[in-house]
């Protein structure tokens, strides 16, 4: 757990690996997943790198696998998920994999090609069958007319009938199929080119036909165009090709047509059988491939990742070994050494690979080891900015402060219970839910933050009990501490509202306050909001100031760790003094006011006719009517003003000597500002020189370390990114400007941030009021329905309650839990990012991205989804 306090210590290491052992070593490191390689060939074009051919081969393999996967998906086959991922294959196995994949791909390609051919054949035959069947109708109609014609004609004269048949004999026709949406245009075109001399008959096909190459369903229409003359025939044919109509030979004689239909039918049946067999075969092939697919995919991806990493390595001048540079967390160093040894053994190389730690002043990546519980909180922090290397990690404190500040705004035990139930469901069913990967982005966000939601829910239940709010109703568990006294029946009957005085109804009976949270009597009070506002405002300022003081204190840990102890005196002390003397003092005044003022038996001394003795005045001095406003006291303190006490017997201040203390506090706090502004730049100016000399000696160390290992001297200098940052060279003006900005920012922000914590009160007020309104506007109607007391009113009342409860529950979920929850979440996030973290957090680091097969494979899965 110590690692979560700040990011882990990292080493920059050089790996010297024999070329023959390189592949297996990197494979081992990828399995271990604790090393971030640096690109040593950043200036080299991607195509000029050493293993570019291998990467290309892997790419090609991946393409083939994707094609096969697409084919399998087309067939709606299930690709089995593999439980244990295979290791990266040997470099020699790549050829085997290539040949087997090549074979599979060709087989599938051939099968698909065959299927397309067969299908287009099938389509043609089906169309021909339809043409023959449908045109049958046209011809019978035609012949029917012909027949009657000739019969009637024959009765009159032989000659004219012969003439008629003569004319009809020259009537030609073409028959075919055209897509249905083109029919109107087709018809018009035919009519135009023939000036109305073409006679078109058409019949729609009821069943859609399948396009062989795309598999789309197309609706088509059978047509037969009758015309006269050869010229018109060629024109009609041209139009047909223009409209992508397929023409089919159609004999004009009925008997021939019948025979043809028969022939087509038998051929269709044969073809169907062949098609089914091809389909079966294809299915079998794909099923067998599907079993292996995921395995191959993982292997190829791993191989590609390895070669990609190898491309980042440098070749030694003697070409005897590969040199890699990488960041390794110190805790994983042993594991990396073991992986290297393992890799060397696997490749049978005689010379072991070795690892050399190099000293560097370069910024290391930030690595916070997280588990499933802390990951969500770390993500909250990282989305603001990845912490600088070895800086205090605020995520640790966020685990408690985040849900707590959220709960202050979301304080309602009922809504908290809903949130807890939701979070608990996700945590308990974690494994099951993790397996069924969901595409829904919102669900994934909720699921990633399941522990945050659970904690937020639990804390909300707690604050709900403190506010005594459960769905905006109060629980009277311990019995209210207030007693109704001094009113008789006529008072109650005559007045809509009666005052309960803290003395006569509470303190007089020596009552102790309600044990936990707010006294339930407040639910019935008309001044509940006024009371709660003052209570919650004070709470939010108290928590806010505590939160900020904690943030400022954390900067001490940073100063000590980064060996800038002088900053504690020059920066931290004036900062914390400013905060403590002004705002922590205000918080202290709140507590003093709560403690020393207590309900007393009062006499109205402001009245002229009453004379009060000193004893009475002493009692009144600490009574509720004399309690001064903390805010007014604070404003007067800042402005060095004074205001008269609230009444006779009261005093302006809470305790003796308060005015002197206050003046001293303000003066010291104001004096902190110039200290903050000038002390550090002046110190840097004085001591700048000594710092510079320290720095150069550090540089010498690095070189010395390199000289100890003779092979390494020849290696080209690791990377251009090695530039040293020179703190001492900053110009004087720049230092002053920077410090000025920091000072102004800090001073102004302490004031504005304190005010900003009032959002805790504002949101909690809004939440409580909204849930109250929802109860009275919706559920109350169902409860106060009818007062008749007969059976009918029970039926009506309960059904009304049944319906309104569902509406109330839905609205509660949508508005109070979802919407208010999101807004409270956002405000909490802001309070952490801005008000808390600005006090100590730099966030200028970059995240440690280890070379790990697990991350690579998971990442690709996400992209595919």
């Amino acid at each position: 757990m110590g690692s979560f306090f700040r990011s882990e210590k990292m080493f920059l290491c050089q790996l010297f690996i024999q070329p023959e052992a390189a592949y297996s070593s990197v494979a081992e490191l990828g399995e271990a997943g604790s090393v971030q390689f640096r690109d040593l060939n950043a200036d080299v074009n991607a195509f000029q790198r050493k293993f570019v051919n291998e990467v290309r081969r892997c790419d090609e393999l991946e393409r083939k696998l994707r094609y096969v996967e697409a084919e399998i998906n087309k067939e709606n086959l299930h690709i089995p998920e593999i439980e244990d991922l295979p290791n990266a294959p040997n470099p020699r196995e790549i050829t085997d994999l290539e040949t087997s994949l090549e074979k599979t791909e060709n087989e599938i390609l051939e099968l698909s090609q065959n299927a397309v051919n067969l299908k287009s054949n099938f389509l043609e035959l089906t169309e021909l069958k339809y043409v023959l069947e449908k045109t049958e109708v046209f011809f019978t109609e035609q012949e029917g007319i012909n027949g009657t014609d000739s019969l009637t004609r024959a009765l009159i004269t032989e000659d004219s009938s012969a003439q008629a048949t003569n004319i009809r004999g020259r009537l030609g026709f073409v028959a075919g199929v055209v897509p249905r949406e083109r029919v109107p245009a087709f018809e018009r075109m035919l009519w135009r080119i023939s000036r109305g001399n073409v006679f078109l008959r058409q019949a729609e096909l009821d069943q859609p036909l399948e396009d062989p190459s795309t598999g789309n369903q197309i609706y088509k229409t059978v047509f037969a165009a009758f015309f006269q003359g050869e010229q018109l025939k060629s024109r009609v044919k041209k139009v047909c090709t223009g409209f992508h109509a397929s023409l089919y030979p159609c004999p004009s004689a009925t008997t021939e047509r019948e025979e043809m239909v028969k022939g087509v039918r038998t051929r269709l049946e044969d073809l169907n059988m062949v098609l089914n067999q091809t389909q079966d075969h294809r299915h079998r092939v794909l099923v067998s491939v599907a079993k292996e697919l995921q395995n191959c995919m993982v292997m190829v991806r791993k191989m590609k990742a390895i070669y990609h990493t190898l491309n980042m390595f440098n070749l030694d001048v003697t070409k005897k070994c590969l040199i890699a540079e990488c960041w390794v967390p110190v805790r994983d160093l042993a594991g990396v050494r073991k992986a290297l040894a393992e890799g060397g053994r696997a490749s049978g190389s005689s010379i072991p690979s070795f690892l050399n730690v190099i000293e560097t002043s370069e910024g290391s990546p930030t690595f916070n080891r997280t588990n499933k519980f802390t990951r969500g909180f770390q993500n909250l922090i990282d989305s603001y900015g990845v912490s600088s290397y070895r800086e205090v990690n605020p995520a640790l404190y966020t685990i408690i402060t985040f849900p707590f500040l959220f709960a202050i705004m979301f304080g309602d035990a009922g809504h908290g219970l809903i949130l807890t139930a939701f979070g608990l469901y996700m945590v308990i069913e974690e494994k099951k839910l993790m397996k069924q990967k969901s595409d829904s982005e919102i669900w994934n966000i909720f699921f990633a933050g399941r522990y945050i939601i659970l904690l937020m829910g639990i804390f909300s239940v707690y604050t709900g009990f403190i506010y005594n709010d459960i769905f905006s109703r109060s629980l009277n568990i311990f019995g209210s501490s207030w007693t109704i006294d001094g009113y008789n029946i006529s008072d109650i009957q005559g007045n809509a509202e009666l005052t309960l005085s803290p003395y006569t109804n509470f303190a007089k009976f020596d009552a102790s306050p309600y044990p936990v949270g707010l006294d339930p009597v407040w639910q019935a009070a008309t001044n509940k909001i006024i009371f709660l506002n003052s209570y919650k405002m004070k709470l939010s300022i108290i928590f806010g100031v505590a939160h900020m003081i904690f943030g400022v204190c954390l900067s001490v840990v940073n100063h000590i760790h980064f060996k800038k102890s002088i900053n504690i005196i020059l920066e931290f002390v004036p900062q914390i003094l400013f905060l403590l003397l002004l705002f922590a003092y205000m918080v202290a005044m709140m507590f003093i006011k709560w403690v020393i003022y207590y309900p007393q038996e009062t006499v109205d001394c402001n009245n002229e006719t009453v004379t009060c003795t000193q004893d009475v005045l002493d009692v009144i001095r600490y009574g509720p009517s004399c309690a001064p406003s903390v805010l007014i006291l604070f404003i007067n303190m800042m402005l060095f003003k004074s205001s008269p006490p609230t009444g006779i017997g009261c005093q302006e201040f809470m305790f003796d000597g308060q005015d002197v203390i206050q003046t001293a506090f303000v003066v010291v706090a104001v004096l902190c500002i110039p200290v903050l502004l000038l002390a550090k730049p002046l110190y840097l100016l004085c001591c700048g020189r000594s710092k510079k000399s320290e720095h150069t000696s550090e540089n010498g160390d690095v070189n010395q370390g390199l000289e100890l290992t003779p092979e390494m001297v020849d290696t080209p200098s690791p990377s251009p990114a090695h530039a040293e940052h020179n703190e001492g060279d900053n110009a004087v003006g720049e230092i002053f400007i920077l410090q000025g900005i920091h000072t102004i920012e800090y001073i102004l922000s302490t004031i504005s941030h304190t005010a900003s914590y009032l959002r805790l009160w504002a949101l909690s007020l809004a939440h409580a009021q909204l849930s109250e309104v929802l109860w009275t506007m919706v559920l109350s109607i169902g409860l106060t329905g009818s007062a008749d007391g007969d059976a009918q009113s029970y039926v009506v009342g309960s059904i009304l309650l049944y319906v309104l409860f569902a509406a109330w529950a839905g609205l509660t979920l949508a508005i109070l839990v979802m919407m208010e929850g999101l807004s409270a979440f956002l405000h909490t996030l802001r309070l952490h990012w801005v008000e808390f973290m600005s006090k100590f957090y730099e966030g200028a680091g970059y995240v440690f991205q280890p070379f790990s097969f697990k991350i690579i494979l998971e990442g690709e899965d996400v992209v595919e989804d």
């Binding site: 629980l475 329905g785 309650l801």
Partner: protein, 99 residues
Amino acid sequence: MKICGPKLSLCGLIISVWGIFQLVLMGIFYYVKSIALSEDLPGVESEGGFESPEDFYKIADRGYIQNAYNCWIAACLYIFTLVISGHQFYVNSRSSMNM
């Protein structure tokens, strides 16, 4: 027999479980005449006021009892809803398993 889809049946399940718990509890609280729920009683907001405290208590007590029964009847209706949506949920999950 399938009437509603998987989402609606899940929604019905959640609301009825919630409804049963809350309405049974509210019924008990009405039955023991909880002050916190006194604002939502039938009849106590009547126009002309009450003649005597006894009069008021009579109305209020009757309202408490009636609301308690109303809550319990509504809870029973939710048990009915729970059974229906549970059955629907079962049917839906089985039909999706078959697919």
